[in-house]
Symmetry: C3
């Protein structure tokens, strides 16, 4: 009995449905999805992971979903809905991705779910075609409410992933909006290595998220407290030298730094300031990192 | 026993209290109302339907509440609080509207609750006067926290609507900020009919919500894929021809379209763009629709 | 049995964890903290009290937390997390303040928690040092997720405050960003008294919150409906005469007024308008109030 309880305990009771969208924050679209989730699965907890993503911002949305690996430890019992869906109303597929950790991602097949799902290991992908698990009539322009959130809530209620529709091969999915940056090994012992990367997030504070995986960065020949050059190729081409630090406070106020972020990638920031504003950087700008 | 359980099942367990306001999104006013709801009715679920409605925006607030008909199926057990309340502190009444579907609307008697309540059928209106169900002392400027939300939470806890105060005749309510647009039948077989309408919502994406009921629009002599002229009479007078479509993807990117929205009315949009910005349209602008 | 139930009833079931931050509203940081709270304490309810506080806005954050005294009646079972934390990554302490009413405040030792905690009476302060109650590995830049919210959730789950770390003397805490304004008694019978105060909040509507405690204001020789002069010393020096009113509607539209706010302090506003915009007032501007 105790053994059984161990297995079915707490973990099974906690059903988290997260919602992420390019809808306006705290707007009726967001509230509608929350209501649908509770109507179908009253014992789930709905968490608004992020809304107000720039319109049709697949890059930004994909990056925000990456948060899940580090901030959610649940895995099993976690259902993540993402509605950044410029293709709604076209024949783009609605999909569920089951990951090896147990998390499920639900949303459009436009690449937005891939980076976050890859971080947890993609196990299986299913297309949502079963009308039974959609809210009827299905709005041609609001699949977040009528297709994706219902799927998440039905999964949370115990419906098997196979019930939603046919399996899709991973290779047939729409590719993600960005791949991980690669460290290009150059020079003797890699001492002249460079990284070609891209801005995939700009925070409220004006800090940049870049598509470099923290563990990949460890291969780059740069030690903590050393400086690197970050070359920006946006509107304005410029080279900004900055320290590789653990946190903001290690550089004087107003100075730039590069550090590991909270979610497994690298972040470029200014201590107590906005990097994006100070240096005129925009989303998707390309950057190159070299040793000083 | 089973019979009893059937009756008291799921549906009764799900008590949804929705909050809509012109307070800043995720601000202390919003958080305060959520706390009050849980303190009075701990087993309710609070959903933030929409906040950040333009200050004193009765038209916009009324339109947002209309969402409830389509996005919430509950009816019984659903309590919708709306705090767009420029008259707080004046003798305007605080009211509860019970609808035929079972939803209750709670807020000021300034017309903001009427359009949404009408969609569900107004059954009964009660003025909130019983101090027992208010949070004491009642702030003269924050009835959302001290009058409306407590009323919703007490209703959710099982207090009868009659306990809150005297009944009010529907005809004595403050009229709504807009009425439904009418199709004016003209010409032989109605072939020259026009619609005089008004912008009652502008979304984050710049799409316009108009006060035309979708089923009324079906009387207008326009078939899917056909074009109509939409004449705007705001700051800039202009005629915009556009296709009547089911969804965005049916017109080329950047092109305008008119379609049924997710909530029972008509929407005017640009595929992958902002109609409001492109054509300089503002809230409450008058429009006329004619056949091309 | 009944006696036992009385003691363990409702009150114990209601565990509220509130979150306040300078993170972007409905952003991944906010969603991450909510997830952590539920993972540790599934039967708590998470309330977003306020987010989007101006970056590093300790004054604004402190003022917003003051809401708790008036809007939350719980005390016991209420855990308030505040993440306005420019010092994250420096040796600033993480603390829990237990108040006499029973509320706990959890956040950085930078003064932001003090004004709200003082209103409820500070009983005890503990530094959070026990790694066992932190989320591992602790991010050097996101203590909201890995230190503060876990502490709140563990407290809500029944962990004793003493378990988190050593007690700190109240006098050793970093001082608050503002003190209460004092009424300076002058003239015969205090008839020429003045108040030297400061703007500590500006609402979405452009109303000013000032650091005057409502009950202190009662000492000022001004009756309801009488006028006072409010002298602003910001960018633009100016004297604005205004009525002391109970609520907006007591002055004509567009006119200024001073009144008690919903949370225990004074508010300066314009009926149906924005005071801050009309008079060019900014956060932290100094003001002097005199009788006309």
């Amino acid at each position: 009995m105790d053994e059984v309880n161990k297995g079915t305990n707490k973990k099974q009771q906690l059903k988290l449905i997260t919602l992420t969208s390019d809808f306006e924050k705290q707007s009726r679209g967001v509230g509608s999805m929350e209501a649908v989730a509770y109507e179908i699965c009253p014992d789930a907890k709905v968490i608004h992971l992020a809304h107000g993503i720039p319109d049709f911002g697949i890059t930004e949305g994909a990056n925000i979903l990456e948060t899940i690996k580090r901030s959610f430890t649940g895995g099993v019992g976690n259902y993540h809905v993402c509605v950044v869906d410029p293709g709604v109303g076209t024949p783009r597929k609605a999909i569920i991705i089951k990951t090896k950790r147990g998390d499920h991602f639900i949303g459009p097949d436009n690449g937005v779910l891939i980076p976050a799902a890859r971080l947890l290991g993609i196990e299986k992908v299913v297309q949502i075609t079963n009308q039974k698990y959609m809210r009827q009539p299905v709005s041609p322009i609001f699949h977040g409410r009528d297709v994706f959130t219902p799927a998440a809530a039905h999964l949370a209620s115990g419906v098997a992933i196979e019930s939603f529709g046919p399996e899709i091969a991973i290779k047939d999915l729409t590719p993600p909006p960005y791949e991980d940056a690669k460290v290009l090994m150059k020079g003797k012992d890699g001492k002249e290595s460079i990284i070609e990367a891209q801005v995939i997030h700009i925070s409220k504070f004006g800090s940049l998220g870049v598509n470099i995986v923290a563990s990949d960065f460890d291969q780059f020949p740069l030690k903590l407290k050393e400086k690197c050059n970050v070359i920006f190729k946006g509107v304005k081409s410029q080279t900004v030298p900055m320290m590789f630090a653990t946190t903001f406070g290690e550089v004087p106020q107003g100075n730039p730094l590069i550090m590991k972020d909270d979610y497994g990638r690298l972040e470029i920031a200014v201590n107590c300031g906005s990097f994006a504003e100070k240096y005129g950087v925009k989303m998707k700008d390309k950057i190159t990192i070299t040793k000083v």
